[in-house]
Protein backbone atom coordinates (compact mmCIF):
# COMPACT_ATOMS: atom_id res chain seq x y z
CA UNK A 1 0.00 0.00 0.00
CA UNK A 2 0.95 3.60 -0.42
CA UNK A 3 -0.99 6.56 0.89
CA UNK A 4 -4.03 7.09 -1.31
CA UNK A 5 -4.35 10.86 -1.70
CA UNK A 6 -7.48 12.16 -3.37
CA UNK A 7 -6.43 15.77 -3.74
CA UNK A 8 -6.90 18.81 -1.57
CA UNK A 9 -9.65 18.61 1.02
CA UNK A 10 -9.45 22.23 2.13
CA UNK A 11 -6.92 25.04 2.30
CA UNK A 12 -7.44 27.11 5.42
CA UNK A 13 -6.60 30.80 5.26
CA UNK A 14 -7.17 33.60 7.78
CA UNK A 15 -9.47 36.55 7.13
CA UNK A 16 -9.84 39.87 8.92
CA UNK A 17 -13.57 40.00 8.06
CA UNK A 18 -15.67 36.90 7.42
CA UNK A 19 -18.61 38.87 6.04
CA UNK A 20 -16.39 40.50 3.41
CA UNK A 21 -14.78 37.12 2.65
CA UNK A 22 -18.20 35.49 2.25
CA UNK A 23 -19.24 38.22 -0.16
CA UNK A 24 -16.01 37.92 -2.18
CA UNK A 25 -15.92 34.14 -2.52
CA UNK A 26 -19.63 33.50 -2.77
CA UNK A 27 -20.55 36.43 -5.00
CA UNK A 28 -17.43 37.59 -6.84
CA UNK A 29 -15.71 34.21 -7.35
CA UNK A 30 -19.02 32.25 -7.34
CA UNK A 31 -17.90 29.60 -4.85
CA UNK A 32 -20.93 28.51 -2.79
CA UNK A 33 -20.70 28.53 1.00
CA UNK A 34 -21.09 24.90 2.12
CA UNK A 35 -20.09 24.90 5.79
CA UNK A 36 -20.25 27.68 8.37
CA UNK A 37 -18.86 26.85 11.80
CA UNK A 38 -18.72 28.97 14.93
CA UNK A 39 -16.49 27.57 17.69
CA UNK A 40 -17.09 27.90 21.41
CA UNK A 41 -14.75 30.90 21.68
CA UNK A 42 -16.68 32.84 19.02
CA UNK A 43 -14.14 32.25 16.27
CA UNK A 44 -15.51 31.18 12.91
CA UNK A 45 -14.52 28.89 10.06
CA UNK A 46 -16.37 29.12 6.73
CA UNK A 47 -15.88 26.72 3.81
CA UNK A 48 -16.45 27.60 0.15
CA UNK A 49 -16.77 25.04 -2.64
CA UNK A 50 -14.10 25.62 -5.29
CA UNK A 51 -15.17 22.57 -7.29
CA UNK A 52 -14.40 18.88 -7.49
CA UNK A 53 -15.10 18.36 -3.77
CA UNK A 54 -12.26 20.78 -2.94
CA UNK A 55 -13.00 23.45 -0.37
CA UNK A 56 -11.40 26.76 0.47
CA UNK A 57 -11.83 27.59 4.14
CA UNK A 58 -11.28 30.77 6.13
CA UNK A 59 -10.75 31.23 9.85
CA UNK A 60 -11.68 34.39 11.72
CA UNK A 61 -10.61 35.31 15.25
CA UNK A 62 -11.40 38.56 17.06
CA UNK A 63 -7.69 39.07 17.79
CA UNK A 64 -5.63 37.39 15.06
CA UNK A 65 -2.34 39.13 14.18
CA UNK A 66 -2.71 41.72 11.40
CA UNK A 67 -1.57 41.24 7.83
CA UNK A 68 2.19 40.66 7.51
CA UNK A 69 3.15 41.23 3.88
CA UNK A 70 6.43 39.68 2.78
CA UNK A 71 6.14 37.25 5.71
CA UNK A 72 2.71 35.64 5.86
CA UNK A 73 1.49 36.76 2.43
CA UNK A 74 2.87 38.24 -0.77
CA UNK A 75 3.66 41.97 -0.82
CA UNK A 76 1.24 44.24 -2.69
CA UNK A 77 4.12 45.58 -4.80
CA UNK A 78 5.71 42.18 -5.40
CA UNK A 79 6.54 43.00 -9.02
CA UNK A 80 9.12 45.54 -7.83
CA UNK A 81 9.93 44.35 -4.29
CA UNK A 82 10.00 40.58 -4.87
CA UNK A 83 7.43 37.86 -4.34
CA UNK A 84 9.15 35.91 -1.56
CA UNK A 85 7.34 35.10 1.70
CA UNK A 86 8.59 33.48 4.91
CA UNK A 87 9.65 29.88 5.39
CA UNK A 88 6.56 27.89 6.27
CA UNK A 89 4.16 30.38 4.68
CA UNK A 90 1.77 30.01 1.80
CA UNK A 91 2.95 32.11 -1.13
CA UNK A 92 -0.09 31.81 -3.38
CA UNK A 93 -3.02 29.56 -4.17
CA UNK A 94 -4.01 28.37 -7.66
CA UNK A 95 -7.43 27.08 -8.67
CA UNK A 96 -7.80 24.85 -11.73
CA UNK A 97 -9.58 25.88 -14.90
CA UNK A 98 -9.71 24.44 -18.40
CA UNK A 99 -7.57 26.05 -21.09
CA UNK A 100 -10.54 26.62 -23.40
CA UNK A 101 -12.23 28.71 -20.71
CA UNK A 102 -9.16 30.80 -19.94
CA UNK A 103 -10.02 33.95 -21.91
CA UNK A 104 -13.64 33.89 -20.73
CA UNK A 105 -12.54 33.64 -17.11
CA UNK A 106 -10.07 36.51 -17.43
CA UNK A 107 -12.85 38.60 -18.99
CA UNK A 108 -15.28 37.65 -16.22
CA UNK A 109 -12.80 38.65 -13.51
CA UNK A 110 -12.30 42.01 -15.24
CA UNK A 111 -16.06 42.51 -15.59
CA UNK A 112 -16.41 41.96 -11.87
CA UNK A 113 -13.84 44.65 -11.18
CA UNK A 114 -11.03 42.32 -10.12
CA UNK A 115 -7.54 43.46 -11.17
CA UNK A 116 -5.84 40.71 -13.17
CA UNK A 117 -2.41 39.87 -14.51
CA UNK A 118 -1.99 37.14 -17.15
CA UNK A 119 1.27 35.18 -17.44
CA UNK A 120 2.02 32.40 -19.90
CA UNK A 121 4.30 29.94 -18.06
CA UNK A 122 4.28 27.44 -20.94
CA UNK A 123 2.88 24.46 -19.08
CA UNK A 124 0.46 26.75 -17.25
CA UNK A 125 -1.58 29.68 -18.47
CA UNK A 126 -2.13 31.75 -15.36
CA UNK A 127 -4.24 34.71 -14.40
CA UNK A 128 -3.35 36.23 -11.03
CA UNK A 129 -5.53 38.35 -8.78
CA UNK A 130 -5.89 39.28 -5.09
CA UNK A 131 -8.71 38.42 -2.72
CA UNK A 132 -10.25 40.78 -0.14
CA UNK A 133 -7.37 40.03 2.28
CA UNK A 134 -4.90 40.78 -0.52
CA UNK A 135 -3.96 37.09 -0.74
CA UNK A 136 -2.32 36.27 -4.09
CA UNK A 137 -4.54 33.86 -6.02
CA UNK A 138 -4.47 32.35 -9.47
CA UNK A 139 -6.66 30.55 -11.95
CA UNK A 140 -4.33 28.14 -13.73
CA UNK A 141 -4.96 26.12 -16.89
CA UNK A 142 -2.63 23.22 -17.63
CA UNK A 143 -1.57 23.26 -21.30
CA UNK A 144 -0.11 19.73 -21.25
CA UNK A 145 0.12 16.89 -18.72
CA UNK A 146 3.12 16.39 -16.45
CA UNK A 147 5.67 13.87 -17.77
CA UNK A 148 8.82 12.34 -16.22
CA UNK A 149 10.81 14.90 -18.23
CA UNK A 150 9.37 17.61 -15.97
CA UNK A 151 11.45 16.27 -13.07
CA UNK A 152 15.09 17.05 -13.84
CA UNK A 153 16.52 19.25 -11.11
CA UNK A 154 18.13 18.24 -7.85
CA UNK A 155 16.78 20.12 -4.84
CA UNK A 156 18.92 22.67 -3.01
CA UNK A 157 19.65 22.59 0.69
CA UNK A 158 19.23 25.61 2.96
CA UNK A 159 22.50 27.10 1.66
CA UNK A 160 21.37 26.79 -1.95
CA UNK A 161 23.73 23.89 -2.73
CA UNK A 162 22.22 21.19 -4.94
CA UNK A 163 21.92 17.83 -3.24
CA UNK A 164 22.08 14.86 -5.61
CA UNK A 165 19.26 12.46 -4.98
CA UNK A 166 20.57 9.14 -6.17
CA UNK A 167 18.74 6.78 -3.93
CA UNK A 168 15.64 6.59 -6.07
CA UNK A 169 14.30 8.01 -9.31
CA UNK A 170 12.92 11.51 -8.89
CA UNK A 171 10.12 11.07 -11.36
CA UNK A 172 6.65 9.81 -10.57
CA UNK A 173 6.37 6.14 -11.44
Amino acid sequence: MSIDYQGVNHITLVTHDMAETTDFFQNTLEMPLVRAVEYEDGSQQFYFDCGGDRLLSFLWWPDAPGRAEGIASMRSDHQTSGFDTAHGSMNHLAFSIDLDRFEAIVARLKNKGVATRVINHGQFMSVYFRDNNNIHMEFAALTRPFTPADVQHDPVNEKGVKVPRNKKPLAAE
Binding site: I3, D4, Y5, Q6, G7, V8, N9, H10, I11, T12, L13, V14, D17, A19, T21, T22, N27, L29, E30, L33, V34, A36, V37, E40, Q44, F46, G52, D53, A64, R67, A68, G70, I71, A72, T85, A86, H87, G88, M90, N91, H92, A94, F95, S96, I97, A104, I105, F124, N133, I135, E138, F146, H153, P155, V156, N157, E158, V163, A171, A172
Partner: protein, 186 residues
Protein backbone atom coordinates in the same frame (compact mmCIF):
# COMPACT_ATOMS: atom_id res chain seq x y z
CA UNK B 1 -26.45 42.68 -10.44
CA UNK B 2 -27.81 39.40 -9.22
CA UNK B 3 -29.11 38.14 -12.53
CA UNK B 4 -28.36 34.49 -13.10
CA UNK B 5 -25.40 33.92 -15.39
CA UNK B 6 -25.48 30.99 -17.74
CA UNK B 7 -23.13 28.13 -16.91
CA UNK B 8 -20.94 29.13 -19.87
CA UNK B 9 -20.41 32.57 -18.44
CA UNK B 10 -19.78 31.62 -14.86
CA UNK B 11 -16.39 30.87 -13.37
CA UNK B 12 -15.47 27.27 -13.72
CA UNK B 13 -15.13 25.48 -10.42
CA UNK B 14 -12.61 22.72 -11.12
CA UNK B 15 -10.88 22.51 -7.79
CA UNK B 16 -7.31 23.26 -6.86
CA UNK B 17 -4.35 23.37 -9.22
CA UNK B 18 -1.62 23.96 -6.66
CA UNK B 19 -1.00 25.42 -3.23
CA UNK B 20 2.38 27.16 -3.32
CA UNK B 21 4.24 27.08 0.01
CA UNK B 22 7.76 28.16 1.00
CA UNK B 23 10.51 25.94 2.42
CA UNK B 24 13.91 26.57 3.98
CA UNK B 25 15.61 23.51 2.49
CA UNK B 26 14.23 21.95 -0.70
CA UNK B 27 16.26 18.75 -0.25
CA UNK B 28 14.65 18.13 3.15
CA UNK B 29 11.26 19.04 1.73
CA UNK B 30 11.72 16.55 -1.12
CA UNK B 31 12.68 13.83 1.36
CA UNK B 32 9.69 14.53 3.57
CA UNK B 33 7.03 14.83 0.89
CA UNK B 34 8.25 11.94 -1.27
CA UNK B 35 9.51 9.48 1.40
CA UNK B 36 7.34 10.18 4.44
CA UNK B 37 4.16 11.50 2.85
CA UNK B 38 4.63 9.46 -0.35
CA UNK B 39 3.79 12.18 -2.85
CA UNK B 40 5.63 11.75 -6.18
CA UNK B 41 7.49 14.73 -7.59
CA UNK B 42 5.61 16.05 -10.62
CA UNK B 43 7.71 18.98 -11.71
CA UNK B 44 10.97 20.68 -10.81
CA UNK B 45 11.91 24.21 -11.81
CA UNK B 46 15.10 26.21 -11.33
CA UNK B 47 13.83 29.79 -11.33
CA UNK B 48 15.64 32.09 -13.78
CA UNK B 49 18.34 34.44 -12.57
CA UNK B 50 19.23 32.39 -9.49
CA UNK B 51 15.75 33.13 -8.19
CA UNK B 52 15.49 29.82 -6.38
CA UNK B 53 13.48 26.67 -7.05
CA UNK B 54 9.84 25.67 -7.49
CA UNK B 55 8.95 21.97 -7.02
CA UNK B 56 5.52 20.34 -7.36
CA UNK B 57 4.37 17.23 -5.47
CA UNK B 58 1.38 15.11 -6.51
CA UNK B 59 -1.28 15.04 -3.78
CA UNK B 60 -3.76 13.13 -5.91
CA UNK B 61 -6.62 13.76 -8.30
CA UNK B 62 -4.63 16.28 -10.34
CA UNK B 63 -3.76 18.58 -7.41
CA UNK B 64 -0.26 19.61 -6.36
CA UNK B 65 1.42 20.81 -3.23
CA UNK B 66 4.13 23.12 -4.55
CA UNK B 67 7.14 24.63 -2.78
CA UNK B 68 9.31 27.61 -3.47
CA UNK B 69 12.84 27.89 -2.21
CA UNK B 70 14.16 31.46 -2.23
CA UNK B 71 17.87 32.35 -1.87
CA UNK B 72 16.91 34.99 0.66
CA UNK B 73 13.63 35.43 2.48
CA UNK B 74 12.12 35.92 5.91
CA UNK B 75 12.76 33.14 8.41
CA UNK B 76 9.88 31.03 9.72
CA UNK B 77 7.30 33.03 11.66
CA UNK B 78 5.09 30.62 13.63
CA UNK B 79 1.99 32.38 14.89
CA UNK B 80 2.20 34.85 11.99
CA UNK B 81 2.95 33.03 8.73
CA UNK B 82 1.85 29.60 9.99
CA UNK B 83 0.22 28.05 13.07
CA UNK B 84 2.14 28.21 16.34
CA UNK B 85 4.19 25.02 16.67
CA UNK B 86 2.61 24.06 20.00
CA UNK B 87 -1.10 24.62 19.40
CA UNK B 88 -2.11 23.25 22.80
CA UNK B 89 0.02 25.85 24.55
CA UNK B 90 -0.07 28.74 22.06
CA UNK B 91 -3.36 28.27 20.19
CA UNK B 92 -3.97 28.11 16.47
CA UNK B 93 -3.85 31.73 15.33
CA UNK B 94 -1.86 33.07 12.41
CA UNK B 95 -1.98 36.46 10.67
CA UNK B 96 -4.69 37.87 8.43
CA UNK B 97 -3.89 36.75 4.90
CA UNK B 98 -1.84 33.74 6.00
CA UNK B 99 -2.46 30.06 5.42
CA UNK B 100 -3.25 28.37 8.72
CA UNK B 101 -3.15 24.75 7.55
CA UNK B 102 -3.60 22.55 4.51
CA UNK B 103 -5.92 19.55 4.46
CA UNK B 104 -5.68 16.66 1.98
CA UNK B 105 -8.33 14.01 1.36
CA UNK B 106 -7.75 10.33 1.99
CA UNK B 107 -10.45 7.65 1.71
CA UNK B 108 -12.39 7.01 4.94
CA UNK B 109 -11.83 3.26 4.66
CA UNK B 110 -8.05 3.83 4.61
CA UNK B 111 -7.95 6.40 7.42
CA UNK B 112 -6.81 4.05 10.20
CA UNK B 113 -4.18 2.27 8.17
CA UNK B 114 -2.81 5.60 6.92
CA UNK B 115 -2.52 6.78 10.54
CA UNK B 116 -0.66 3.59 11.49
CA UNK B 117 1.56 3.84 8.42
CA UNK B 118 2.63 7.41 9.20
CA UNK B 119 3.17 6.61 12.88
CA UNK B 120 5.37 3.66 11.86
CA UNK B 121 7.61 6.12 10.00
CA UNK B 122 8.38 7.80 13.30
CA UNK B 123 6.64 11.12 12.76
CA UNK B 124 4.27 12.67 15.24
CA UNK B 125 0.68 12.36 14.07
CA UNK B 126 -2.20 13.69 16.11
CA UNK B 127 -5.76 12.44 15.83
CA UNK B 128 -8.45 15.06 16.25
CA UNK B 129 -11.92 14.07 17.25
CA UNK B 130 -14.99 15.80 18.62
CA UNK B 131 -13.40 16.18 22.06
CA UNK B 132 -10.92 18.67 20.60
CA UNK B 133 -11.75 22.37 20.91
CA UNK B 134 -11.18 23.05 17.22
CA UNK B 135 -13.58 20.36 16.09
CA UNK B 136 -16.79 21.53 14.50
CA UNK B 137 -18.60 18.59 16.17
CA UNK B 138 -20.76 18.15 13.10
CA UNK B 139 -19.59 14.72 12.04
CA UNK B 140 -18.53 15.90 8.58
CA UNK B 141 -14.99 14.53 8.60
CA UNK B 142 -12.29 12.66 10.50
CA UNK B 143 -8.85 14.22 10.67
CA UNK B 144 -5.25 13.66 11.65
CA UNK B 145 -2.59 16.36 11.84
CA UNK B 146 1.16 16.45 11.39
CA UNK B 147 3.89 19.05 10.81
CA UNK B 148 6.17 19.27 7.79
CA UNK B 149 9.87 20.27 8.18
CA UNK B 150 8.97 23.98 8.06
CA UNK B 151 6.27 23.72 10.71
CA UNK B 152 3.45 23.77 8.18
CA UNK B 153 0.42 22.06 9.64
CA UNK B 154 -0.83 19.32 7.30
CA UNK B 155 -4.14 17.61 7.90
CA UNK B 156 -5.30 14.35 6.33
CA UNK B 157 -9.09 14.18 6.28
CA UNK B 158 -11.77 11.72 5.30
CA UNK B 159 -15.33 12.79 4.64
CA UNK B 160 -17.91 10.91 6.69
CA UNK B 161 -20.87 12.53 4.93
CA UNK B 162 -21.65 15.26 2.40
CA UNK B 163 -22.19 18.85 3.58
CA UNK B 164 -25.87 19.89 3.47
CA UNK B 165 -28.12 22.88 4.20
CA UNK B 166 -27.82 22.56 7.98
CA UNK B 167 -24.07 23.15 7.68
CA UNK B 168 -24.52 26.82 6.68
CA UNK B 169 -26.72 28.23 9.41
CA UNK B 170 -24.12 30.59 10.93
CA UNK B 171 -23.86 34.22 9.77
CA UNK B 172 -20.34 35.54 9.15
CA UNK B 173 -18.73 38.09 11.47
CA UNK B 174 -17.27 41.35 10.19
CA UNK B 175 -13.94 42.84 11.30
CA UNK B 176 -15.56 44.12 14.52
CA UNK B 177 -17.00 40.70 15.33
CA UNK B 178 -20.62 41.57 14.54
CA UNK B 179 -22.71 38.91 12.80
CA UNK B 180 -23.79 40.17 9.39
CA UNK B 181 -26.23 38.86 6.80
CA UNK B 182 -24.49 38.52 3.44
CA UNK B 183 -26.72 38.32 0.38
CA UNK B 184 -26.05 35.32 -1.86
CA UNK B 185 -26.05 36.61 -5.42
CA UNK B 186 -23.24 34.32 -6.58
Amino acid sequence: MGQAASEDERFQRSGVSHVALVCRDMAKTVDFYTDILEMPLLKTVDLPGDGGQHFFFDCGAGDSVAFFWFPKTHEAAPGIASQPLDVRKDGFKSAHGSMNYLSLTIPAEKFDQTYQRLRAKGIKVELVDDKNGMSARDGLMRSMYLHDPDGIRIELSSYLRKPDAKDIRVDPRNARGERVKVANIG
